[in-house]
Amino acid sequence: MSNALTFELRLYVAGQTAKSLAACANLKRICETHLAGQYRLEIIDLTKNPKLAAGDQILALPTLVRRLPKPVKKIIGDLSNEERVLVGLDVRPV
C-alpha cells in the first residue's frame, strides 16, 4: 500500500437523516482506521444535487461507491458492519 491515493470513494446520502449520519460516521472511522492516507472521500448529498444520482446509478441510499481501484464497487446501507465494508472495498484480502 505504497501509493498514497489508492482509493477513490464517494458516499451518496440524502440529507441529514439518521442513516446518512450513521453512514458518514461509520465510513470516516473505517477509512481512518484502515486506509489512512490512501483514500479520497467525497460525500454527495443528492437532495442538493439530484442530477448526480444517475451517473453512478444510485438507487439505494446511502451508497458508497468505490470508483478506484477498478472495478467499481457499491456498498449500500449505513456501513454499520465494518467487516463487510472492508470486504466490499477489498481492503482486507479474504
Binding site: 451518496y12 440524502a14 442513516k19 450513521a22 453512514a23 461509520n26 443528492l46 437532495t47 439530484p50 442530477k51 444520482a53 444517475a54 446509478q57 444510485i58 438507487l59 439505494a60 441510499l61 446511502p62 451508497t63 472495478p71 467499481v72 464497487k73 457499491k74 456498498i75 449500500i76 446501507g77 449505513d78 456501513l79 454499520s80 458492519n81 463487510r84 465494508v85 470486504v87 466490499g88
Partner: protein, 577 residues
C-alpha cells in the same frame, strides 16, 4: 368511432392514452393521478403500450412524461420504438420526455446495514420536476427484485413509491411480468390496485394473437372482454368492439355493381351504399371476377377502394383480372385502389381485423373488398368466427363503407346455402355463384339469394366470363332443368328452328283462310246478283199486271159510258180477270 364505449364517469378523472381503442374500453383512459399496472408475459407488448401512453401524452395531450426503465437502456428503447414512428430523441430535446435508465448490477453490490431507495425517489422527483411531467412509466420495476437482495426493504419502498406517485398526482403506468400463480411475478398487484390491464399473447393453431383485458378499474365501468390488439406501424390499436347497438345509418343511395345485368337483377339499381354484399360460390365460379368488377366500377366513380386479398398476390390479381378486361393496375397507379395481400395464416383472425381497421382508418376507402373471407376463418369454429366478422362488418357499416366479401363454399354440395349460414345473416345482399355441370361441360350461374330492402330478381342467370369482361345471359329454363352453355345454345337453336317452322305454318294457314274468304265472297256476290235478278223479275210482273188492270178498267168505263149506265150505281170493282 362509436363502439361499446363506457360513458365517462365525471367523478373519476381520466387520463386519455391516445391509443386507438383503449380509451373506448376504459371509458376515457387510465385513472388520472393514479398508478395502473400493466402485466403480461415476455413480449406481450407491455413496454410498447407504456411508451405509447407517454408519447401520446406528450404529443397529443400536452402532458410530458418520464420513462424510467429498469431493463433496457435509453439507446435500445429509442431504437425499439422508432419502428412505431416515435422519435424519443426529439421529444427529449423538446423537454417533453425524460428517459432514465435505472440499473442495478447485483455483483457490484454489497449490503451492510440499513438503507432505503431514496435515490430512486430523488431521481424520479428530479426528472418529473425538470419537465413538469404528468405521466410516469416504470418499465418493469420488478427488475429491482433481482438487483436488491433485501426484498423486505424493497417491498416497503415500492409501497412508498406508489404512495409518492399518487401524492404527486402522477398518472403512472407500471409494467409487470406475468407470474405463474399471481398476476405478476413479485405480486405488484398488491400495491397497484386502481387499474390492472392484462396483456396476453396466445397461440391457437399455430397462429398467435395479442389480446388485452382490463381486469379491474376501481371506480369505473369498463369493457370486460378480451380485446385483440395489434402493434402496427402507427402504434398500438385495440379492437374494442362487439358492437352492441345496431345504430348505423342506412343510406338510400344505390351504387352499381359494375355488371349491368346484375344491377338489373338487383332492382335495376345495384346495391345500397354502405351495405354488405356476400358473393359465395365453390372454387372457380368467378367470385374474384365479380369482386374485381365491383372494384373497377367504384374506381370509375372516383371512389377509393381497399382490396384485401388472401389468395393471390396483388400482381397476380392485376394480371388475372386483365384477362377479363379489367385493368386494376391503372387504379393502383392512380392511387384509388390499394391491394393488401397476405396469407391468412400470417395472423389470427382478430389480428387481421385489427390490421383491416388500421388500413381502413389510414386509407379512408368508400368500398372495401375482402377476397375471400372464408380463408380468414380456415378451420375455425363458426361460433368463434361470427362475432369477429360481426365486428368487422359493424365497423365498416359505421363508416358507411360498402363491402363486398367473397366466400368459398365447399364445391359440389347440394345446398351451398347451408355452408354460409354463419356469416350470411350479417350480409345485406347475397349473390350465389354456382357451377352447373351438364352435357360434358361446366358453366357458371349466378343468382341473387337475398337482397335486403329491394325487389330483386329471382331468376338464375348464366355468368359468362370472356376477354371482354363479364356478361350475364338468360339461362334456358326448360322442363325440369336449367340449361347453360352449349346446351343452352343448342336448345335456343332448336327453338329458333321450331319457331321458324311454326311461322311458316301460320303463314300458310293465313293464306288458306284468305283464299276461303275470297271464295265465300264470290259466292255471296253470285247469290246477291241472283236475288237482284229475282227482285227485278217480280217488279216487272207487278208493273205489267198493274198496267193491264188499268187498261181493263178504262175499257170498262168506256163501255159503261157507251151503255149509258147509271152514274151512281156504276163503278163496282171487279175482280182480277
Amino acid at each position: 368511432m362509436k363502439t361499446n364505449t363506457v360513458s365517462p364517469n365525471p367523478n373519476l378523472p381520466k387520463c386519455p392514452t391516445g391509443i386507438g381503442g383503449l380509451d373506448e374500453i376504459t371509458g376515457g383512459g387510465l385513472p388520472a393521478g393514479r398508478p395502473t399496472l400493466i402485466c403480461g408475459s415476455a413480449g406481450s407488448g407491455k413496454t410498447m403500450l407504456a411508451m405509447e401512453f407517454l408519447v401520446r401524452g406528450a404529443t397529443q395531450y400536452g402532458e410530458p412524461g418520464v420513462f424510467v426503465m429498469f431493463e433496457e437502456n435509453a439507446a435500445e428503447l429509442t431504437a425499439n420504438v422508432r419502428s412505431l414512428g416515435f422519435d424519443l430523441e426529439k421529444l427529449a430535446a423538446q423537454k417533453k420526455l425524460v428517459l432514465d435508465h435505472v440499473h442495478i448490477e447485483r455483483s457490484e453490490i454489497e449490503e451492510t446495514g440499513e438503507y432505503d431507495l431514496e435515490g430512486l425517489f430523488i431521481r424520479l422527483g428530479h426528472a418529473v420536476k425538470s419537465i413538469g411531467a404528468k405521466r410516469v412509466v416504470l418499465d418493469t420495476v420488478e427488475a429491482l427484485f433481482a438487483g436488491l437482495p433485501n426484498h423486505a426493504i424493497l417491498r416497503a419502498e415500492l409501497r412508498r413509491l406508489f404512495r409518492w406517485l399518487k401524492d404527486h398526482g402522477l398518472t403512472a403506468v407500471i409494467t409487470g411480468e406475468r407470474g405463474e400463480q399471481s398476476l405478476t411475478r413479485y405480486g405488484l398487484e398488491e400495491y397497484v390496485a386502481d387499474c390492472v390491464i392484462i396483456l396476453d399473447q396466445r397461440i391457437q393453431e399455430q397462429i398467435s394473437t395479442r389480446r388485452l383485458r382490463v381486469l379491474k378499474y376501481r371506480g369505473s365501468a369498463h369493457g370486460t372482454n378480451e380485446y385483440p390488439f395489434l402493434i402496427g406501424e402507427r402504434g398500438i390499436s385495440v379492437l374494442p368492439i362487439t358492437s352492441l347497438r345496431l345504430d348505423h345509418q342506412a343510406s338510400a343511395k344505390r351504387i352499381p355493381t359494375g355488371i349491368a345485368r346484375l344491377d338489373e337483377m338487383l332492382g335495376a339499381k345495384g346495391v345500397f351504399r354502405g351495405s354488405s354484399v356476400l358473393v359465395s360460390g365453390s372454387p372457380g365460379t368467378g367470385k374474384t371476377s365479380v369482386a374485381a368488377k365491383f372494384v373497377d366500377a367504384a374506381c370509375r366513380r372516383d371512389e377509393r377502394v381497399l382490396l384485401f386479398a388472401y389468395e393471390e398476390s396483388s400482381a397476380q390479381i392485376v394480371r388475372n383480372m386483365g384477362s377479363i378486361g379489367i385493368d386494376l393496375g391503372a387504379w393502383v397507379k392512380k392511387g384509388l385502389l390499394q391491394i393488401h395481400s397476405s396469407r391468412p395464416t400470417l395472423h389470427g383472425l382478430e389480428q387481421h381485423l385489427v390490421m383491416m381497421h388500421d388500413a381502413v382508418r389510414g386509407f379512408r376507402p368508400s368500398v372495401v373488398v375482402v377476397d375471400p373471407i372464408s380463408n380468414l376463418s380456415l378451420d375455425r369454429n363458426e361460433l368463434e368466427v361470427k362475432p369477429t366478422l360481426m365486428r368487422l362488418v359493424d365497423f365498416l357499416k359505421q363508416q358507411q363503407i360498402t363491402t363486398l366479401f367473397t366466400s368459398l363454399t365447399a364445391g359440389g354440395g347440394e345446398t351451398p346455402e347451408d355452408s354460409q349460414l354463419g356469416v350470411s345473416s350479417l350480409m345485406d345482399t347475397w349473390l350465389l355463384l354456382r357451377n352447373v355441370e351438364f352435357n360434358g361441360e361446366r358453366n357458371r350461374t349466378i343468382y341473387v339469394l337475398k337482397s335486403r330492402g329491394m325487389a330483386h330478381s329471382n331468376q338464375v342467370r348464366e355468368f359468362v366470363l370472356s376477354d371482354k369482361g363479364i356478361d350475364l345471359v338468360d339461362v334456358y329454363l326448360g322442363a325440369e332443368r336449367v340449361l347453360t352453355g352449349t346446351a343452352r345454345v343448342a336448345q335456343e337453336e332448336r327453338e329458333r328452328a321450331a319457331a321458324a317452322l311454326r311461322e311458316e305454318d301460320h303463314q300458310r294457314r293465313m293464306k288458306q283462310l284468305a283464299n276461303r274468304r275470297k271464295a265465300i265472297e264470290a259466292q255471296i256476290a253470285a247469290l246477291r246478283s241472283e236475288a237482284e235478278l229475282e227482285a227485278a223479275e217480280v217488279a216487272f210482273t207487278i208493273a205489267r199486271e198493274t198496267l193491264q188492270q188499268r187498261s181493263a178498267r178504262q175499257s170498262t168505263d168506256v163501255m159503261a159510258q157507251l151503255r149509258g149506265a147509271d152514274k151512281t150505281g156504276g163503278s163496282r170493282k171487279r175482280g182480277k180477270r
